[in-house]
Amino acid sequence: MSLVTRSLTTIARPLAPAAQGRGFRLPRRLPILPLLIAGVITLPILLLAAELLTPKLDLWAELWSTVLPRMLGNTLLLMAGVGAGTLVIGTGLAWLVTAHQFPGRAFFDRALLLPLAMPAFIMGFVFMSLFDYAGPVQTAWRSLFGRSAPFPDIHAGGGAIIVMTLVLYPYVYMLARSAFREQASVTLEAARALGCGQTRAFWRIAIPMARPSLAAGAALALMEAMTDFATVRFFSFPTISEGVVRLWEGRMDRVAATELASLLMILALALLLVERQLRGRARYHQQGGKGRRPVRIALKGRRAWGAFAICALVLFAAFVLPVGQLILWAISEIDGHVPGTWETVYGQYVGNTFALAGIAAVLTVGVALLLAHSGRIWKSRLVSGLTRLSTMGYALPGSVIAAGVLLTIAPVDHQLNDWFGTGLLLTGSIVGLMYAYVVRFMAVAHKSVESSMDKVKPSMDEAARTLGARPLDILRRIQAPLVANGVLAALILVFVDAMKELPATLLLRPFGMDTLGIWAYMLAAESFWQAASIPALTIVAVGLIPVIILMRTGDRA
């Protein structure tokens, strides 16, 4: 006993006098960690914004007199088309499956999320091959209706808009669906009791109430559309994003690329602002209430089959068709396989992709943990503002972030090289790319981590502190294990997003670090569709993991 008690008395040592000297006054202390994180994350964006203050006028004049008007017009047209398309398809389908009963409803309810697994550019090249002049659809069309039978020109932007709408409608669908579910029972029943028919209830109750969700969903879809450069390139519909990549990669004109990227950033921030306005004060996504499920209107006869056909058509076009085509290509590629071709690099590209996405996931989620942790410790408006700043990268196209990151690290690189002769230590390695991934995917990670951290009651932190745990101990011993699920979800989401990311990867990847996405894109750009199907299918397969989790857990966004 004596041994134990003696050691315990040393544990319970009296307050050391030193402790008084080291004591600090919380309010006077600056939240250094969140400041640092927010600073590092926003620096690329700020530097890019600073570029706007010193515009290279002759460059802009040249851009304006040549390619800029068309790119700007295309970008706006794409935004308008994809915005309208995803809103109509996403909202319509969500209303169909939440407020109606028809054959296959329960299946479609979840299956309609599947296109989330499909990066737009993969869908793009599959659709390109199927629907362009030489593709099977137009060929069949001509053989049915004659050589000169008119067929819409998929290069005029229509093709890109349709493809992106099909890939991106799930964002609207997902948020609209949960909004409809939450609002439904009481309000809609009240409306019906007041003699409001289903159609009027939709326009007068469901839509206005779901407006914040619809705005958020459409904004997410548009952010994705804005970051894309590959799909629009396949369809010869150059947007500003495409222009940034072309100037950078194709012509190595990083100055012009940066200028163009700053313009794109303005568009992205404008979109963010519009979304905030539309969302108003409402929270755009509340977790499923415990209220009664809405009574679904049972559709009968032709209407029931009509609903089935609409869902089936969208699911077929947006998922079954592209995946099916990819599988057919993959089979014929493997069948006619010439030894010594793709299988020699497949493993290497898979390794590169998984390494990059894995490191990105760990880094991003690590920073997100620190950020969420600081948010709890400090609970100040400053810190929550810093957090919001740190998570705005999701709204910015990958090419914009790449340009900003280069602006940030290139001077550091040159300085390091001058001092130590390190060469392209940062820009030539994965540092730049990881930086870009962290900026772009911080929001995804933070949201997931924070929502699980919210489940940890503040008193647990306090209990740990009274037991002698320092803030970082709390993070390690209490918060981290408790948020493990949220962290896992965040890791998966960032991993998959990084794997699907194309523009920043293309622009910043270290030399020789090709990924499955880059490989698929390069092959597809040369119409080596069969060969491209193998990396593309790999991406889709991994991309299905979070979608399946999403489908199982219901409506977690």
């Binding site: 134990v4 008690t5 008084q20 006054r25 009274t466 101990d473 408790l482």
Partner: protein
């Protein structure tokens, strides 16, 4: 067995805390002797929890200082971080770490070798009477057991002061009395300096050596239970601690005249006063001496009963008597006072 090496008095001097324009503590002074249990009792919003959080160090006062064992842990220039204060805390919702089993919860705050920790955990488990449940997870325990784990966890690192924040409010009423006496026994055995926050007077009266009653960010009175009950410092304290009747009277030295006749006072007073009469001081009889009153209502509890009466003068009083007497509503009874009354000078209101 627990060893104590130093005295750990707690001293709070003139604590002021403001949230923006609102001042929630108006200069709180609180002295807790080594090994003493003091309850902070008051209605919600009175500042008792804020006081506790200032002691713990979760928040810092705008003025005033806090000392433990004579050492400053908070004043204008010093703020020892929570984790260095060696202040244990039991939270209202226990705040057990759901991912750790009971033993790991208790050893969370311990330093030293694994063997030392295990020994201390075993010691604490037997102290709180939970030996054998080391490997259980928190959600597998009952509320009372969780409460004791929280206590053991807070006590394990031998804090200088233990803070308890509404520790019984999450328990069923039926369980409370039992858990309360268990906790009291544990605290006594630990011999620890202890501050308990509660809005439940019964809890405060039964657990604490001394009770500090707080209203509006100030301590109205700090005394042992009996003094508090019998000699409340203010009308507010009298009302909050136990049930009280008030009767206007005119005092003259150690006696006062009121609707019940002339009554002895605890302390001499003069002029218009308000007399505080505890319900059990009022004796109701069918015959004998005393002022006449009409029975208005009656609540029967078995071993005793509460009876509402109206005096001739129109004042309503509540009396508490044993359960044997039978009172009929709207009948007349006689009322007289047992013992002496406490007189509060009638304020302007």
């Amino acid at each position: 067995m627990l060893t104590k090496t130093a005295t750990h008095t707690l001293e709070c001097a003139h604590l002021v805390k403001r949230y923006g324009a609102q001042t929630v503590l108006h200069g709180v002074d609180l002295h807790v002797r080594d090994g003493q249990i003091v309850a902070l009792l008051g209605p919600s919003g009175c500042g008792k929890t804020t006081t506790l959080r200032l002691i713990a160090g979760f928040e810092l006062p705008d003025e005033g200082r806090i000392l433990i064992g004579g050492r400053v842990i908070t004043d204008r220039d010093t703020a020892v971080p929570v984790e260095q204060r060696q202040v244990g805390m039991v939270f209202q919702e226990y705040a057990l770490f759901p991912h750790l089993n009971i033993a790991d919860n208790i050893s969370f705050g311990l330093r030293g070798t694994a063997r030392e920790k295990a020994a201390r955990v075993a010691e604490m488990m037997s102290l709180v009477g939970l030996a054998g449940l080391e490997k259980r997870m928190p959600h597998e325990l009952s509320g009372g057991q969780q409460q004791r784990v929280a206590l053991a966890r807070a006590l394990a690192p031998q804090p200088h002061v233990l803070l308890l924040d509404e520790p019984f409010s999450n328990l069923d009423t039926a369980l409370r009395a039992q858990v309360r006496s268990e906790v009291k026994a544990i605290l006594r055995e630990a011999g620890i300096t202890c501050v308990l926050v509660t809005h439940d007077q019964e809890e405060a009266l039964s657990l604490a050596d001394e009770i500090a009653v707080m209203f509006d960010g100030q301590i109205a009175q700090k005394a042992d239970a009996q003094t508090l009950y019998q000699r409340p410092a203010t009308r507010a304290v009298a009302t909050f601690v136990g049930e009280a009747n008030f009767l206007p009277a005119t005092a003259d030295g150690d006696r006062a005249d009121c609707a019940l006749g002339t009554i002895p006072l605890q302390e001499a007073s003069h002029g218009a006063v308000s007399l505080m009469l505890r319900p059990e001081q009022l004796r109701l009889t069918m015959d004998g001496e005393g002022a006449w009153a009409i029975v208005r209502w009656r609540e029967f509890y078995g071993h005793d009963q509460r009876v509402g009466i109206v005096l001739d003068s129109g004042e309503t009083l509540v009396a508490r008597t044993d359960g044997s007497a039978h009172f009929v509503i709207d009948e007349m009874v006689r009322v007289r006072l047992d013992g002496s009354a406490r007189a509060f000078p009638e304020s302007a209101t």
